[in-house]
Amino acid sequence: MGNQPASGAGGSMSSRRSSSGYHSHQQHGAGSGAGQSSYGGSKPPPGGAAPVGYMQTHSQQYPGAAMKKSSSDMSMTDLSSHYGADANEPAISQLDLATISAAEEDTVPTVFRWEHGGRNVYITGTFNGWSLALAPDQPTVADIEGRINNFIDVTDFKAYTGDKEFEKERAAADYHRCTKSDKSSNGEEETASSSGKKSSKGSDAEGEVYGHSMPDLDEYTKEPPPLPPHLRHIILNKPPQLQDTAALPVPQHVALNHLYCTAIKDNMMVLGITQRYKTKSCTTVYYSPC
C-alpha cells in the first residue's frame, strides 16, 4: 500500500470517492488499505449509484488495468485500475476536483439527531438501498450541548422525481451491474466479482417482481374459490314476514359486512349489506343506477 505514489493515490482515491458519493470523511481518513477493504468486503455498496461508479471504472478502464498489472492488493484494485488507465494524472485531478465542487454544490447539510438513547444508531434510506448503514465509524463531533453527532455525506442521493425517472435510472443501474458481473466472471478482480455477485442477486430478486413472462392461462381462467356455505343463507332472500315487512331474520354473525348484489336489471344495481350496531343488525338495500 505504501508503495503507491502517495499524493497521486490519495488524491485520486478521495476524489473518486467523493464523486461517487460515499462518505466524505474518507477524503481525510482513507489512504489506508484496511479501511477500504473493510468497506469493500463487509459493507454493501452504498446505494444504486455507487456500484455504477465502480463498474464504470472497471469496464471502461479494464483493458488498461489488465495490460498494466493484475493487482494483488485487493483493497487498492479500484484505485490502481483507475490510476493506471489514465496516463495523464493532472487531468484526473482536475476532473475530479470539478466533480467534487459540483458534488458539494448539490450537497444539502442535513442533521439527523437521535435523542432517545440506545447503543447503536443506524441511518438508512434510498441513498444506501435501505440496508443498514452503520453510523459509528463516521466522523463525529460534539455539539454545544455535548451530544455526539455523526456526519454522513449522501452526495449521490437522488431525490425521487417520479416513477419514470426512477425506474429508468434503476434499470440502467441494473444493466450496468449485470454487465459488470459478466465481465468480472473471469476472476480477474476479486472486489469486482464479489460486489458483482451481490448486485446480480439484487437484480434477480427484482426481476421476479417485475417480470415480462405471461402468467399461465390457468392462472386467470380457473374457477374462483367456492362460496363458503354459510354465505348462501342470505337473509334478504328469506320470505318476508307479513306483519312486519321491515323485519328480517337475525343474521349469523359470519354474514355481517358482506356485500350482496343482484344482477343488473333495468339499468339498476341493487346492493345489500348487513351491519351490526350494538346487539342489533341492520340490512341496507341500496338501489343505484349503473
Binding site: P240, K280, C282, V285, Y287, S288
Partner: protein, 353 residues
Amino acid sequence: MMSTQSASAAPSGMLREREVVRNTGKEAIASFLEAQTCYSVLRASGKVVVFDTRIPIQLAFYALVEHDMQAAPLWDPKRCQFVGILTVTDFIDVLRYYRQTGADVVTLATRSIADILADEGILSTVLRKSIPRRFAVNSAGEYKESDQHSSFLAIDAEATLDRACHLLHDQSLDFLPVMLAPDMRVLATITYTCVLEHLVNNFREQRRLFDDTIYDLGIGTYGEEVVVAYPHQSLHEVLHTLHMHGLSAVPVVDENTKKIRGVYSRSDITFLTKASDAEDAVSNLNLTMDVLMSQQRTDVTTPDALHTCSTRQTLQSVFEYFAQVKFNRLIVVDDEERVVGVVSARDLVAYFL
C-alpha cells in the same frame, strides 16, 4: 253528541282525584319515553331500503312495493349525504300532479327522483311536505343548523324516544329516520306506530292509571271535524281531500245510513299494483271508493285495515287492543256503527307529550 256527562256529574273532589290519576299516568309514560332510546325501538334485525336520487322514480316506487315498505331514505351520491325520504304516497301525489296538469305520463318513466324533487311545480301543488328540511338534530337532541345535513331530518340512535316523538310531532313527520351519524347509516325509519308498539310491549304499570275513556281524555278527532269519504267519490277526489286536510286516512261511510264501510289510507297502493303502466295508474285515479274497497287485500291484516272502537273504551283497553292488532288508527263508532271519531297512533302518542 256525546257530552262529558260522566265527568261533569262527578263531585268536584272526585274530579280532582281523577285529574291526579291522569297526570300520574301521563308522567309515567313521559318518563318511560324519556328513559328509552331510539335504539330500543329498532328491530333485532331490520331492513332499510335506500334509493340513489339518480334512479327513476317509477323504478324506486316499484322497489318500495316489492319490499312492501312505506318509506325509503334518499341518498345523493354527489353530495354524499342523505337528502330526504321517499314514501309511497309521494309517488301517488306525483301521479295526481300528472292527472291534474294533464302532462304526458310517458315522460314519468324517464324522470329520476332528483328530477322530481327539484320540480317546483310538483313540490308546490301536490307534495305538501317540504322536502328540503333545514334542521338536523344532534345526539344531544338540540336543534341546530347544520350545513352537512341541511336537508335531512333524522334522529340519532342514542337520542331518547321522547325527543323522537317531539320531532315527529313538531315537524309533523310521518317517518323519522334513525341515524348513526358518524357512519352515515340509517338504521331504520320510525313512525308513531313503532313508538306505540314499543310502548305497549315494554311499559309496565301496576297502578290503574288509564281507566279514563279516550273520549274523555280528548284523544283523537271527534264530531264535525271528522272528515269522511263516500263510496261514490273518486280516488282522485278523496286523495285531494286527504291532502288538503293533511290526513293519512279517511273512513268511508255509506251516504244514506252513515254506517262505516271501510277506511281508505293514502298509502294504499292497490290501485297502482293493479295498473299495467303509469298511464293506467293515472287513469285508475278515477276509480270510485266502492271499487277500490272491493279490491283491498283481505289475505293480510295491515296496520291500515279497518279497526273500530267505541267512545266508551278506556285508554287501557285501547293499548291492549293495539298490543293484539297493530293499527295505525281506530275509527270510533257509536252503537249504530256510525262514525263519530278517529283515533290515530299519532293522537295516542301525542297525548303524552
